[in-house]
Amino acid sequence: MDSEPTPAPPVQTEPFRFNGSGGEYFGIWIVNLLLTLVTLGLYSPWAKVRRLQYFYRNTELAGAPFDYHGKPWSILKGRLIALGLLLIYHFATTYLSVWTAVALVLIALVMPWLLRNAFRFRAHYSSYRGLRFSFRGSLAGAYGVFLGYGALMFFTAYLAAPLFHQRLKRYQHGNACFGGSAFSFSAGVGRFYRTYLPFMVGFAVLFALAFLPIIGLSASAKAGGKPDPEAVAAAGFGFLAVFLFGALVLGPLFQAAIQNLIWNHTALGPHRFVSRLSGWRLLGITASNFVLVALTLGLFMPWAAVRVARYRASCTSLQVEGSLDAIVADAGVEVAALGEETAELFDIDIGL
């Protein structure tokens, strides 16, 4: 299981490995898709469980795979409730009235509770070496992060986004456990701002580049001038180019930097995670994925997902102090199982 030859080394690097293959996942993906379409979407929770199981069970650390135990029926219930909320939101914002405010306040009040339950659900149904993960963040903490810092981010035109992200990750990683062993998160707000800064500047410049020509055009149109067709075409093309550059180039670079920041400051008990993602490699993978998915009308998507998963895993490792064998289930695990009933109700993917 261990490749280090030295006897009882104090710290061992255990790499993550992803063993899935695109061809194999294609079969799973297409069958999932067909069954989902044929059942008008009702199969989608089963498809989701199968997809996650494929990715979890093919991800290995120190010779053992992860596993996912989510229950499709609970996911279906959660999705129907989420759909209801979405419809309420849609109608409340389409026809403005007093009910708009009531519905928005209601959704704002329910959201933090929902998201905390989603964290609990995802953690509780993930396992490794026969032990479950768990999430023990408090409800008050969820309201503080999502309502407090979320609102702050909104009112500061995203200048507080790094602060919100740090608080979110501190809440999410700082309250997670594996068996009786707690995760910890040590990156401060300053580090988040330092990582965000170049990208915030980059996105601001892109934003200006994309919108200035359009603003100029509409100003000249208002002044009564006939818009020059070439200028209109150039503005449209420029907007598209800038948008593509932002999504395809800055996006992966940012993702890599943020993932490194987050995982390099996350630990499980004494064992530290190490993430060495290269932004440029990730950029190459996402850009080629983009082209191939477009050329194949989407059929390349399973290979694209596997390529990203494999690269991510290959750059992540755990510095194990002593041995992972020492981790035991927590006595409080029964308490977590009791709370599971509410957690089961909601399963929302959170890509933060």
């Binding site: 194999e24 079969g27 297409i30 053992a64 596993d67 067709p229 395809l248 992972l324």
Partner: protein, 344 residues
């Protein structure tokens, strides 16, 4: 006998064990572990690709197994051995069939499902919503694109009067309201809003040779209203947008917007042809030869061909292949002899 890793569900430490079937029991032994459990109390995770499978015990313990062939051979005749999903996913014939089925489903949805669904939405849309939507659209256009008409009031009144005398192909009085506007940026154009408001631009009135051509254009716009093209286009674009976002959503929002643009051109071409057929039927009922509208389209095409700048023309009303439409109109018989194809 199968090699497996046993976890007791309490400790992260794994135990190298051997697993064997013994009657209706599963026997696990090795590395200090010795268990015998009835198969009925165990759960085997479904096979997925080559990923390891897990036998879960009722008390939370589990066994991880990697030798799929041996495991399946061992459990073949037991209730645990079932599982058709993996066989389907790993069978290239079934996978190829799934690809074909999904391709056909996608094509049917785009060509048939989305237009039908949009038609249904447009037909069931409450009158009040249609009106609000149209009023808001005209208001928006008035603020950003359109100017007050500079048409001579008596000319406008004449045109309104002539338009009021028009009968729909089925002989009824069409419900609509004629509005005059000017828009030098747009060039000669006219458009209809879902509630029956027909906006005629001064530039088009100036381009037309006579009232018959203008009435033809009004007929064309009434065709859009009659077939509820405005609402259907909105519904179709939304549907395509949602479908594309769902399909490409995981990969890229950029890719998700492309199909909307591509399909829009296709749909609007079909709508123009349909509105032309309605206009032709309407013109014949009112004693005007459909070729008059064709002549106007030719003129419009000639003007655009001379570099008549029309950068925003496609924004409101994409009138594709003007000449093609003109030819179709001119090939129709001048009176009610031919079938217009626009009966309600």
């Amino acid at each position: 006998m199968l090699d497996a890793v046993y976890f007791d569900g309490r400790h992260a430490r794994g135990h190298a064990v051997r697993v064997a079937l013994d009657g209706d029991d599963l026997h696990v032994c090795g590395d200090g572990i010795e268990r015998r459990e009835p198969l009925a109390t165990l759960r085997l995770s479904a096979r997925i690709g080559r990923a390891p499978r897990t036998i879960a015990f009722a008390d939370g313990a589990s066994c991880e197994l990697r030798d799929h062939a041996a495991l399946e051979a061992m459990l073949r005749r037991t209730p645990l051995g079932r599982g058709w999903l993996h066989r389907a996913e790993a069978d290239w014939k079934i996978v190829a069939l799934a690809v074909v089925a999904i391709g056909l489903l996608a094509a049917a949805t785009l060509v048939w499902g989305v237009p039908r669904g949009a038609q249904w939405i447009a037909d069931t849309m409450p009158e009040r919503m249609t009106r609000v939507l149209s009023e808001q659209s005209l208001d928006l256009l008035d603020r950003h694109l359109l100017h007050k008409s500079t048409l001579d009031p008596t000319r406008a009144a004449d045109l309104t009067g002539a338009a009021e005398a028009l009968r729909a192909p089925d002989g009824s009085q069409p419900v609509y309201r004629l509005e005059f506007r000017s828009a030098p940026d747009l060039g000669p154009n006219a458009f209809a809003l879902p509630d029956g408001t027909v906006v005629l631009l001064d530039e088009l009135v100036a381009l037309a040779d006579d009232d018959a051509q203008i009435l033809g254009v009004i007929g064309h716009e009434l065709g859009h209203v009659h077939h509820r093209h405005g609402l259907r286009l909105i519904a179709q674009n939304s549907a395509i947008g949602v479908l594309a976002a769902w399909w490409f959503g995981d990969v890229s929002t950029v890719l998700a917007t492309a199909p909307t643009v591509l399909m829009q051109a296709r749909y609007s071409r079909a709508f123009e042809a349909e509105a032309d057929r309605y206009a032709a039927a309407l013109m014949r009922v009112n004693g005007i030869a459909p070729a008059r509208l064709g002549a106007l389209l030719r003129k419009l095409d000639a003007q655009r061909g001379q570099g008549g700048a029309d950068p925003l023309g496609g924004l409101l009303d994409s009138h594709p292949a003007l000449l093609e439409r003109a030819r179709a109109l001119e090939s129709l018989p001048p009176d009610g002899a031919g079938r217009g194809g626009a009966e309600p």
